[in-house]
Symmetry: none
Subunit: 423 residues, 2 copies
């Protein structure tokens, strides 16, 4: 079964909001084993909504249309559906009374506009509202159009309560009942083409059978490369087992470049690693200007393991606050002194420091993109790496941030770091 | 002129990422005076990409297709376009060499896969890449298909550099001696409805004549409300004069809520204000965790006026490094002590500090969203403001960042701050 999605609202076309409803619905449909091959967004214009609905119905078994069910004159999804169905809109007096009651129970008077929300294309069924706008289930020549409001919490509640059960019933009529599930392995430090080559043999094996899992790559810029495993199975238990098995295959090949799964981020993984070992972290940032700290504080509970960061953007701050010896600052020794300084000044178990050249001009004879990361661990010699990163100032900084966090992550999973009282 | 957008990627249909590219492109097209009536998202499937492109070409003058230009076998936008154009794909040896050089200059070897990115539909023009994937400009029966990578920063850079100028040229050919120009005034601190009320009388005056400038509001979340002025004029000189005149009208009504124009950002405006006055800035950040510093270092030349930031995420760091007196830290007096500490420790003319509660739980009896900003200026008493911000952790922090920068901006334009030797 295939369901298209049509999002209605000029604000989507103008980029004033991103279409998160379609993303959410796509995820729900996939989980229910319903294919969704095309999403469309269209403005508040009846002729164009009609065209979008007809296009969608021509290439699928049904449509979920979101938005345009409000009370104002530019809410015209109802009108467009009745045009597609070729039936008149009929005002339902029971719904008018319900909306009026809803207003009065809040001590307000219903504006006459709101009665428009009780207009129903002749022959359509209504979905009781989560807010004030009822939804619609409309039969169109053997196919189905579901209409839901654009307000995200109303849309999701009404989808789960009414659309999903209706879809399940229609699916039940069909022979193949299945679920689609996927898992994303997030990687850092290996290029997309190198990952594709590493996994080429495995993908060839999988491609031999149509019911096998599929593997796809998704370049996410600053966030590395995602490897997505998708399975189709008769039920969710089988799907979960297939995902786990395929994940093991991928991890065996790709190794510790996999830093997280699904919603995990580099910062959440580093934070969990520190929390599990009872370690605290102090940062010294020059080139990244606070970016490493600002990513880490996104993790709920960061205050238990993050002491803070000394953003030493000017060399004098490196000397006076962090105790870096006078001299050039884009060097291995300066980076190590910064990491040790961060540990000492911030009273942390681990010190992580970054220095480098964001560009566009060289500095101290080093070219833009040169970044040195130093890591001071308890009972280890301070270590450092030098990397050469591509792109403009902002990209160099973003890459430097994730490179530094990845270095710490790899040391944490290597299990070499223990809590220590002494520095 | 009407341009459809087609976003390619199964991850969009499965809801693994929201389609922010189409939103961004929609905004750019609107600003350029190009209509965009339909957006589509489609998976990594050649037959369906072809169908989406044909659907888009049938109802518009051209298409921007985003995504599917990578090196892996599921990147098939090139193949789909060549099918729509009914021409073969031809590998361009010059592009292969450029990609190979790009890899080798980073000390890596180009995987053979990457050569696929040099495949060009016969007769199409290429857009030099921002990353490794070149874009395409393809003529299809008097219409045009632009192909851009799905990685947001590559997409936006290549759109601005190559697609927009090409579109402008086509617009110029079409709209016979008329030019559309627009200017965006960026505001902070006034709600969209309040701005609309302030400007209601002016909009009424403008609406009376069809050739007058138009004013539109774009809510941009963390970045405030944009007021976009659009003019249509016989030539660019007249257009520029009309824009300048209308900007003066809007500024007269909206006042100092306007913080910048077009590409100016809150941080670039603050940086320019500091540089012009020869002042240096030191930060002390708790709730924002380095976000204020990381925004400021985006401004080229930041090293001349930004000393650094003490990210004092744990209370002990506030006490030991910044000299905040022991006690609660979400208070006006702690914020002021942080600002004075930042000036002193970082050796800066101005100290700016933020403390507060990001949530989800209250802290020190203060509710999530409570933020205190303190500003220590030369020869002034330290001042502070308390704000209550909506949203989750990340939104509270983003709003806190721009609120703090806006406070400093308003003091800088008030012209009260002079360079001082003494603190």
């Amino acid at each position: 079964m295939r369901i298209d999605i049509v999002a209605v609202g000029t604000e989507l076309l103008l980029g004033q909001i991103a279409d998160t409803n379609s993303a959410w619905l796509g995820e729900q449909l996939a989980a229910a084993g319903v294919d969704s091959h095309f999403h469309q967004a269209v403005g508040d214009n009846q002729a164009r909504i009609v065209l979008a609905l007809r296009t969608a119905l021509a290439r699928s078994d049904g449509v979920i249309v979101c938005g345009g069910l409000g009370p104002t004159p530019d809410d015209i999804t109802r009108d467009a559906i009745s045009e597609v169905m070729n039936v008149p809109l009929v005002r339902d007096p029971t719904i008018v009374e319900k909306i009026r009651y809803l207003f009065e129970s809040r001590g307000r008077t219903m504006a006459e506009n709101n009665a428009r929300q009780a207009d129903v294309p002749q022959g359509a069924a209504t979905i009781p509202p989560a807010g004030t706008a009822p939804g619609l289930i409309c039969a169109v020549g053997g196919k189905v159009v579901y209409a839901l409001p654009g307000v995200p919490y109303e849309m999701s509640e009404m989808f789960t309560r009414a659309v999903l059960p209706d879809l399940r019933q229609r699916l039940g009529d069909q022979s193949a009942r299945s679920t689609i599930a996927s898992r994303v392995l997030r990687t850092w430090g290996t290029s997309e083409s190198a990952l594709a080559e590493l996994l080429a043999r495995r993908i060839e094996v999988l491609d031999a059978e149509p019911d096998n899992p599929t593997i796809a790559f998704l370049a996410s810029g600053m966030e590395g490369i995602k490897v997505r495993i998708t399975v189709k199975a008769p039920d969710t238990v089988t799907a979960a087992a297939m995902l786990a098995e395929e994940e093991a295959h991928v991890r065996e090949v790709v190794g510790e470049a996999v830093f997280g799964v699904d919603a995990e981020t580099m910062e959440s993984v580093v934070g969990a690693g520190l929390a599990a070992r009872g370690l605290t972290l102090g940062l010294a940032e020059s080139i990244t200007g606070g970016l490493v700290a600002s990513r880490l504080v996104r993790v709920p509970g960061a205050s238990t393991w993050l002491r803070g960061s000394i953003v030493a953007y000017s060399p004098e701050v490196k000397f006076s606050v962090l105790g870096v010896p006078d001299g050039p600052v884009v060097t291995e020794s300066a980076a190590k002194a910064m990491a040790e300084g961060a540990r000492r000044v911030l009273g942390a178990d681990i010190g992580l420091a970054l220095t480098g050249v964001a560009g566009p001009d060289p500095s101290e004879g080093r070219s833009p993109g040169t970044v040195i990361v130093a890591l001071a661990l308890p009972e280890h010699d301070c270590e450092s790496i030098e990397v050469h990163l591509p792109g403009d100032r902002e990209r160099v900084r973003q890459y430097a941030t994730i490179s530094a966090l990845d270095l710490l992550r790899r040391r944490l999973i290597a299990g070499e770091i223990e809590v220590s009282q002494a520095c």
